[in-house]
């Protein structure tokens, strides 16, 4: 994974998870974007909360 910092003049390369609108707006600025076709995990919010507490 990229270990350099964003703060210098490095081009942004973005993964967009959520509102597709934001991916389109980044593309309009010439930014490389991969949009994730996200959906809630099976089991819903409770499972997501559990997964959020577990290690990777």
């Amino acid at each position: 994974m990229n270990t350099t910092d964003v703060m210098p003049q490095e081009p942004l390369r973005v993964v967009n998870v959520g509102l597709e609108l934001f991916a389109r707006e980044l593309e309009a600025q010439g930014v490389e974007v991969v949009h994730v076709d996200w959906r809630p995990p099976a089991g819903g919010a409770e499972i997501a909360a559990l997964l959020g507490r577990l290690g990777d």
Partner: protein, 512 residues
């Protein structure tokens, strides 16, 4: 009226897409009401209260899409549901025509783009932490637009970010600028020498737009989320971002846009600023200005931009009430010469920071202002329509303008409202052309008020730049054509509203 609902199982769509499909269906013949929502508990309540719940819709889960319509006839209801299906079919065809399969997870996306460096996350709050954790663990900076994330989760995310030397912008981060790229809701501004650390999305938008108007630009604008300077979070991301901007050779001055910091964080904030050799401007709306602060403290977003620009130009700066006091004087005199507006102020805002700034400016001038449960019972009210309670199950009012427009029309019939104060926020991500519908709503409200023998004065400010897709000049012209008094900043709009409510304030506000 027949109510029909259909449920698409396991068919997730985001709130902006749902807004568009609901709007298309609502415009069909015979359709009285239409809703397109995911089946969350809050959305089931909305469907029930709108009379749109059906036995089918009640079984939908948060992963299922509900489309419900109330139409004049069975045939029109069925046609509306078919049209919605057509909308989604069309989207699927358009997506498939690109020949590129969309990943279903963040890790799937990283297989397509292994050198990604930022994750922009705007999933519902219940799922935001999981996605942000994954992104940080993969070494990405995170822009976390999602709200409704518990503060304990925010602390955990920001600790991980600091350990990884990554930015965790948010939760509840509306706007950021990284190296000239705007993320989230962002006005089109030039790159320049002013860096911002912002706890407020519309606050950053307003400062960046004012900076652009003054002929300068933004190096980086780092969002930190509204709670960063709270006792719980302890300013973790603010201090990290300040160090980054202090070391950044493209940044010559720094603006901190914050909520009032927790008292226990203030000494650290002071200490952090003292290590910076560049000019630092602090705008913490509603905070008392410290007596011996190591920075220039200002009280409005406009002043923050002006002080920073003066800082990099090496010029002295003093705040002023109005850009064009003479124009305000003549406008207020014209209003005073006509039928006096009798009643109170109603502020209807889409930008939360702008709503709070309005209250901070208005209260010393006209007395208590009811906002977010503060000063209940006061005649003057300011409402932040972007607050969680108004955005459940629908897109933000900067995108979905219908809710505010209908409140403006209602205000026309409210006997106690004499002055209507509104913002209009332009930029990427916002509604493509909000001025005409806002102007139409204000015209309607004023017509209703006049029919009832009342005067309704409308005052506005527009956050935007000439580079924004909506066009600043065109949006202002739309409002002015509806006889809306448009001021160059939200602060000036609030002061102008105070003058209309109490012309005696002229000696304080228009003396210069």
């Amino acid at each position: 009226m027949p109510v029909r609902a259909t449920v698409w199982r396991g068919f997730y769509q985001d709130s902006v897409v749902l807004m568009h499909v609901a709007a298309e269906v609502r415009a069909l013949p015979g359709v009285r009401l239409a809703a397109a929502l995911m089946g969350t508990p809050a959305n089931h309540e909305l469907l029930s209260s709108a009379g749109l719940a059906t036995p089918d819709s009640k079984n939908a889960t948060a992963a299922d899409l509900v489309l419900a319509v109330d139409a004049a006839t069975d045939a029109e209801a069925e046609a509306a549901l078919a049209a919605a299906k057509g909308f989604f079919d069309e989207r699927r065809r358009a997506r498939e025509s690109t020949g590129r399969a969309l990943p279903r997870t963040l890790d799937g996306a990283l297989k397509q783009m292994p050198d990604a460096n930022v994750a922009l996350i705007s999933v519902p709050g219940d799922y935001a932490k999981l996605e942000a954790l994954t992104a940080l663990r993969r070494g990405l900076h995170v822009f976390l637009f999602s709200d409704n994330v518990p503060v304990g989760d925010e602390v955990e995310l920001k600790r991980l970010a600091l350990a990884q030397q990554r930015l965790c912008m948010g939760p509840d981060c509306g706007t950021a600028y990284l190296g000239g790229v705007g993320l989230g809701f962002a006005n089109v501004v030039p790159r320049g020498r002013i860096g911002c650390v912002a706890a407020a999305g519309t606050g950053l938008q307003a400062v960046a737009s004012h900076v652009a108007t003054l002929g300068e630009g933004i190096s980086h604008g780092i969002g930190v989320g509204g709670r960063d300077l709270s006792a719980e979070v302890g300013g973790m991301m603010t201090f990290f971002a300040l160090r980054k901007l202090a070391d950044d050779p493209s940044t010559d001055a720094i603006v901190i846009i914050a909520k009032p910091p927790a008292p226990e964080v203030m000494p650290q904030l002071d200490a952090a600023i003292r290590t910076i050799t560049k000019p630092v401007v602090v705008c913490a709306l509603g905070a008392a200005v410290p007596a011996s602060a190591p920075a220039t403290w200002v009280t409005t977003l406009e002043d923050a931009a002006e002080a920073a620009v003066a800082g990099i130009r090496g010029r002295a700066w003093t705040p002023r009430s109005f850009t064009d006091a003479a124009a305000v004087r003549s406008r207020v005199a014209a209003i005073a010469a006509g039928a006096r507006p009798r009643g109170a102020l109603l502020g209807l805002f889409t930008g939360g920071t702008l709503a709070h700034e309005a209250r901070v400016i208005l209260e010393p001038l006209v007395g208590p202002v009811n906002i977010d449960g503060a000063a209940p019972g006061s005649a003057h009210r300011v409402i932040d329509l972007g607050a969680d309670e108004f955005t459940r199950g629908r897109a933000h009012p900067m995108i979905d303008v219908a809710a505010r427009d209908s409140r403006i029309r209602e205000a026309g019939a409210a006997a106690d409202v004499a002055v209507l104060l509104v913002d209009l926020v332009l930029g990427r991500g916002a509604h493509p052309d909000p001025g005409p519908s806002l102007a139409a709503a204000i015209r309607d409200a004023r017509a209703t008020a006049e029919r009832d023998g009342r005067t309704l004065v409308a005052i506005a400010s527009v956050v935007g730049t000439d580079g924004d897709p909506q066009g600043l000049a065109r949006q202002i012209a739309e409002l002015r054509a509806a006889d809306v008094h448009v001021l160059p900043s939200s602060a000036q709009a609030a002061r102008s509203a105070a003058l209309v409510l109490d012309p005696r304030l002229a000696s304080r506000l228009l003396s210069a």
